[in-house]
Symmetry: D2
Subunit: 483 residues, 4 copies
Amino acid sequence: MLTTNPFDDDKLREECGIFGVSGATGAAALTALGLHALQHRGQEAAGITSFDGTLFHTHRAMGHVAGNFDRDDVIRGLPGEVACGHVRYSTTGETALRNVQPLYADLSTGGFAVAHNGNISNAMKLRRELVRRGSIFQSTSDTETIIHLVATSNYRTLLDRFIDALKQVEGAYSLIVMTPEGMIACRDPLGIRPLVMGRLDGAVIFASETVALDVCGATFERAVEPGELVIVQGTEIRSIHPFQAVSPRPCIFEWVYFSRPDSIAGDQSVYSVRKEIGAQLAIEAPVDADLVIPVPDSGVPAAIGYAQQSGIPFELGIIRSHYVGRTFIQPGDKVRHLGVKLKHNANRALIQGKKVVLIDDSIVRGTTSLKIVQMMREAGAAEVHMRIASPPTRHSCFYGVDTPERAKLLAAKLDLGGMTDFIHADSLSFVSIEGLYKALNAARDGKPSYCDACFTGDYPTTLTDHDETATVDQFAMLAERVA
Amino acid sequence: MLTTNPFDDDKLREECGIFGVSGATGAAALTALGLHALQHRGQEAAGITSFDGTLFHTHRAMGHVAGNFDRDDVIRGLPGEVACGHVRYSTTGETALRNVQPLYADLSTGGFAVAHNGNISNAMKLRRELVRRGSIFQSTSDTETIIHLVATSNYRTLLDRFIDALKQVEGAYSLIVMTPEGMIACRDPLGIRPLVMGRLDGAVIFASETVALDVCGATFERAVEPGELVIVQGTEIRSIHPFQAVSPRPCIFEWVYFSRPDSIAGDQSVYSVRKEIGAQLAIEAPVDADLVIPVPDSGVPAAIGYAQQSGIPFELGIIRSHYVGRTFIQPGDKVRHLGVKLKHNANRALIQGKKVVLIDDSIVRGTTSLKIVQMMREAGAAEVHMRIASPPTRHSCFYGVDTPERAKLLAAKLDLGGMTDFIHADSLSFVSIEGLYKALNAARDGKPSYCDACFTGDYPTTLTDHDETATVDQFAMLAERVA
Amino acid sequence: MLTTNPFDDDKLREECGIFGVSGATGAAALTALGLHALQHRGQEAAGITSFDGTLFHTHRAMGHVAGNFDRDDVIRGLPGEVACGHVRYSTTGETALRNVQPLYADLSTGGFAVAHNGNISNAMKLRRELVRRGSIFQSTSDTETIIHLVATSNYRTLLDRFIDALKQVEGAYSLIVMTPEGMIACRDPLGIRPLVMGRLDGAVIFASETVALDVCGATFERAVEPGELVIVQGTEIRSIHPFQAVSPRPCIFEWVYFSRPDSIAGDQSVYSVRKEIGAQLAIEAPVDADLVIPVPDSGVPAAIGYAQQSGIPFELGIIRSHYVGRTFIQPGDKVRHLGVKLKHNANRALIQGKKVVLIDDSIVRGTTSLKIVQMMREAGAAEVHMRIASPPTRHSCFYGVDTPERAKLLAAKLDLGGMTDFIHADSLSFVSIEGLYKALNAARDGKPSYCDACFTGDYPTTLTDHDETATVDQFAMLAERVA
Amino acid sequence: MLTTNPFDDDKLREECGIFGVSGATGAAALTALGLHALQHRGQEAAGITSFDGTLFHTHRAMGHVAGNFDRDDVIRGLPGEVACGHVRYSTTGETALRNVQPLYADLSTGGFAVAHNGNISNAMKLRRELVRRGSIFQSTSDTETIIHLVATSNYRTLLDRFIDALKQVEGAYSLIVMTPEGMIACRDPLGIRPLVMGRLDGAVIFASETVALDVCGATFERAVEPGELVIVQGTEIRSIHPFQAVSPRPCIFEWVYFSRPDSIAGDQSVYSVRKEIGAQLAIEAPVDADLVIPVPDSGVPAAIGYAQQSGIPFELGIIRSHYVGRTFIQPGDKVRHLGVKLKHNANRALIQGKKVVLIDDSIVRGTTSLKIVQMMREAGAAEVHMRIASPPTRHSCFYGVDTPERAKLLAAKLDLGGMTDFIHADSLSFVSIEGLYKALNAARDGKPSYCDACFTGDYPTTLTDHDETATVDQFAMLAERVA
């Protein structure tokens, strides 16, 4: 298994990152670089499709971009000046290669490849209707629903068919589509998941985050707008807005945890926002302590912000090993237990006898926080105060983020006192929802400018499939099991 | 590459073997055994699908049955009392896993798995119409056409839909289908490709050859009839004949080369037929010689027949190594040339100074015959006479057999004298078409009882796709290239 | 595991084949070809060492020659005009790469590589003395003893040291040695294991069997004589006989089973000898039967001889699959049992109602004979008579052949009647020791010209280690276990 | 290749880490944990040897501890309550498994396994003498010299033989030895390489660094003293000092870079020493700047020290990807160049228009510093000042550290001005050798308390082999090349 470590396991997980380029020599190699920079958005599998003017070429693989897409033979097998790619983390048990994107189909209009970040919240309902009419699905991915809607649309042109399809789906989608005519990038009307656009010499690039542009040496131009389709055909670029306009609701967790700190999201530096959340936290929940210690690595920017605001020194109290690419499981319970320290070890000499403030970005199940507080105590900390750079996570996400079922969310089960007891901290505080918006230079009013459903339960769309039962299992039941 | 050796490369190749079992504990393990016995019918890939009463389970793999389907974890992943499987040799460049059968689809009537031996000769035309109506193909296999015809049929029950689909296809097909309701085995109206039925305790078994029944300890019951559908639902077995009756035309090459000598085909022992062809050959083309030498291993039964008829001793003049599972290619032309002897070596002490009759089953390109005559001469043979236990192969097969394009068939290019010169033999003779029918206790009249198109050009069906251009390339152009 | 099948498992197994070439461009590629032709002498592992005039290069691998030594990168990594190689079957549990030959050492006289066929029967005693004096062994191979004797010899030149070492060892050895000065090939004074010499243009070749010369296109010159050292230095070839002359005792089992039928051993065609043994068997043990059936493939030449002598037709009553490269083990006892038929299947249509004579080369444990008689009966044979083309195998071999412990040899436990009952045959006969010698144009008198200890218990050397306990285990206990 | 990235490539590399445990259930599993914590000391290969009271068991593997020693089957193959292990980075081309430690030999006194951190600087001379006397080496490792000296020693007991051997070697060695009698841990008289001792319940543990004790839950007891042998036999622990006492000279680079920051070395917290070096650097080389930016990750502690001393804010100006386990090389020069940003990316929004101080631990070739200064300028930095937390590295190490040849060390070629120009920085400063000793609470006088030869050229031992030519190549020439 390619998960990383006990600490990372207790995070919400972005399910996908996407990247596309049109008009560049070595488009697939550029896509591999871009996907590598987006690897944190999905570590289970990756895929790239290229178009050489006549044929589409695809390579999909389980595992990381490095090790799969840095091989000469793979890249040489993906010729052409147009390419798109996908990294994926999946919530289902169905980790078969057939679900790895980009998905591809031979339509009557020609080849059609699509990479999707998000989740279609009425996919199951649409699938049932399509199967009833004779469509055969080859994956258990919600994304394939879009392709069948395009294939069976009564419109004539590919673009009309595609818009027809999108008007039937609900939920979150940032999409990059390749056809023989060109590339289409689009975001759902609420713009829940991100998508940006850049330029590299004459080429156009689309990516989930700006960091993928940096890695390619491209310049960041602008975000694709919520509800916008950007159509690239050769050197021509067109933009259309086929949906009725609504207020955007981008996912606020991109700034809390998902995006890399060196990305720019919504015109704001993610690193600066995180430092500012840390500063807000220092204002809202001050503590008399000797050291500010980040939970590595995602807690570092907020910890710097907290330290600068409070004047308490920032120190590396937890050392992270670089050599745990995967879980390291030893036989025998005793030794297994010790394995927790393989990834993180307390800097004992520093902590001994000190009052420490631990800064982490979020609490999901709470299991990590429990272990890390215990690690501080075993290293001799006099007091351990936990400060969290997001509000309590109380609700599941249905828009392309892997959340545990609600019953496993610590904040859905316990109040602040209960949570403090659970993790054995001397104190625990979360930044307020207002403080979080403030760090983004916004205010949460009746018409919030972000999707913050995981904190508030305020879902911006209907949840068709989820009125019934859990989507995931329904999909998993549909297809043959591939051993 | 899993081809075998220079000699074997110059054969026609059966493209598939199929096997199905209903009502046996460990159905997948039995299927693995059966497919192993059918391995000679397709060595490129194999697959098994099982049904456990609720779910379908599939494992597909490139390569042989042994090494893939003798692993505990694989067989444990294929639970249930119903299973079918497929071994495949493919003529196209498209050797991707997605073409490995059984193919599977989730239809509105439930899961549908199919294993196919044969070739649909109007598959491309049907595919174009289906795509136009919104069907999305996931493979480049002609077999998938049948599934989409079932999915989009206007009939209600699965059986009616299936018959509706079969009535639209032309060509050769022996099929084993699995649905939640049961198993269906059928042969096309001409019965071009074989399919037999057996019993093992309470279970029903279908297989391309009786040898697969032997290996399972099952008893041979009867052949599935041309145009017959055998439907197994639990312990109930029904037979229907939905097609208009026509005279059967089973492929005669099954007795010449494809089937194993220990199989019974059309109520005749394949071994005995081959010996009888050898005897006919001795009568039609006698020669004054010291030794009868089979080209191993397929020439052995005919050589025994020739020796017994002629009274010339049967001897092993060519020794075959058991350790060439794949081509053994060495760098350097000199050494590469020597590699020919790795698989077969002349029994020099035996041959020195002798007049030898070589017996082989067929000549395709003639390259093998050339090498083997040369090997006999280098070993000191005084005379080398070649006798072939089939008529000259002059036409391509479009019914599921891998034939080189016509221009490469030696007998399509040269007359008997030219062929004799080409292979440098002292003499060369083929059994006559009449002699071949005689060995099968039949006579070739105006209404022949076998498909012998590869010898005669007398194709028993229309060849829709092939009126246009070669099927293979059209299919290969359709889908994305999967690297 | 790379064993083959239930039938083959019940054979004595030659433990090694060796090959060397001096003075040929692409020496390693030639060696790979030669080893491939000797693969039947050892299927567990293979190795090649080359010398490029300055450095020695070695590649060792578990498994067959094909798949390991037909790779361009491997052969390119073995440059030079001198090379030797080894194929190995091991009797010990120690199948680690460190035991795969050629073995190599940096001596004070320079590099020293050795490939060995045979077994040193005082290796353990010598090893103990060497370790006592400070030698460190890197393998559990008896062959390494020779290297340490050379390294610690008080003589000055490599040749004197090598002869000094050989004079201390007892048992069976055919050796090919490479040093910076040249190649040395030698056989022990009794010539127990074979070694032949050939020429290819200007190059000299040594090999266990002539078939390896055939495959390379080389001409067979002569056998290396018992007790002879052939020394090749550039184009100069010298021969010395440093040992006291004794009567040779080559292993008679080479003609019975080990050598390939297309080899010439001791100036006799192995194929012809085997046919002659079959003829002797027909004279000594005639039977009234309808068919002579060989147990494939090793029984075929003797069966042809038996058929020609007796006039009973030779027929293929057992069909062997070409697709069982390894054991095919299925979960579940019922299905496992069926697996026996995967490799061999009765030609039922032929056998039904017939009286058959089965011809096999030898009986070791008897388990195979039991199964094959049963297979004939299940196929409907009226009578089953077993004829064996060697005398009863009653004693273990300590000269480089894998024999089961004596207690497992059927002929060491039971008399002829008991054996006949055990295998459930209607009759059973072995060729007599006199008949075997007669087939070789010899007679067994007080001073036999072959080692036939496995039949007679007449061992031609002392068995130092084996006076104590089994060698194998002592060696296995010595070194670290390498997981 | 398992190197990491352009930045890490420009570091000195510790060649080994060692770990041993005596008296613990699951000793091999504990050793795997300990080696994992020492992975930064050697990433090329790893090995563990266990002793179960009768037999020694070893597993060696190329690559990391995780992925090789977290497999159940591997750990189950290493039974016993005593075990030792080794992680290795090698400077030679000879990366074959035979050089992976622990090395093992069967001596007349029984099994002998050894794990070595350091380098024997007269190994080649000793090896020549040993080969002359008949010893056969199986590796090209200097460590094997020690084993042959033990094997051929004239003393009787293993302990006397071992001390006899050590008295003949010169250079650096921390050793863990396993024999059937027990475990011996020792350091060379100068204590150049580290070795500490800890306790876990009744068990004794030895390790290169205290962090390996932390990971096992063991308590740190003390360092093994320079020139000390600690002998563990069951529950008895003895200490002897067989060498003439000299002033210790532990390697100062352990505090600069090699050891993990959470280790305690020489009674000092490595993290605190690094912060103090940073503070010294701020005092010695102040700069008027807006941000202090660490080169991740090794520059972080010194950067925190610099920031706290100078009052300039500490900020993450370079973001490191967690997903570059190996070099990611793309075809095409243009894209390859971009690959530099895969591992590290400038936090552009933070840096734009700012004056930055970069803190790194050392400069070796200078190639990394050049790239990182350029990255800062491309991100818009107004000024880039480089501060290095060690003196200029001007000399090679011969004590077990991988140093480039002197001609490639930037500080051996250029003065400070030249170096500043080379890396295109606005200014460049190194901490002084005095400042470095001060951070360690010491002073460098005529009798320095650390080995600082890489900075000063003051080597504490004679360099026998290195008076001749480079050791590495001589060793590499000795043995066969294993392809």
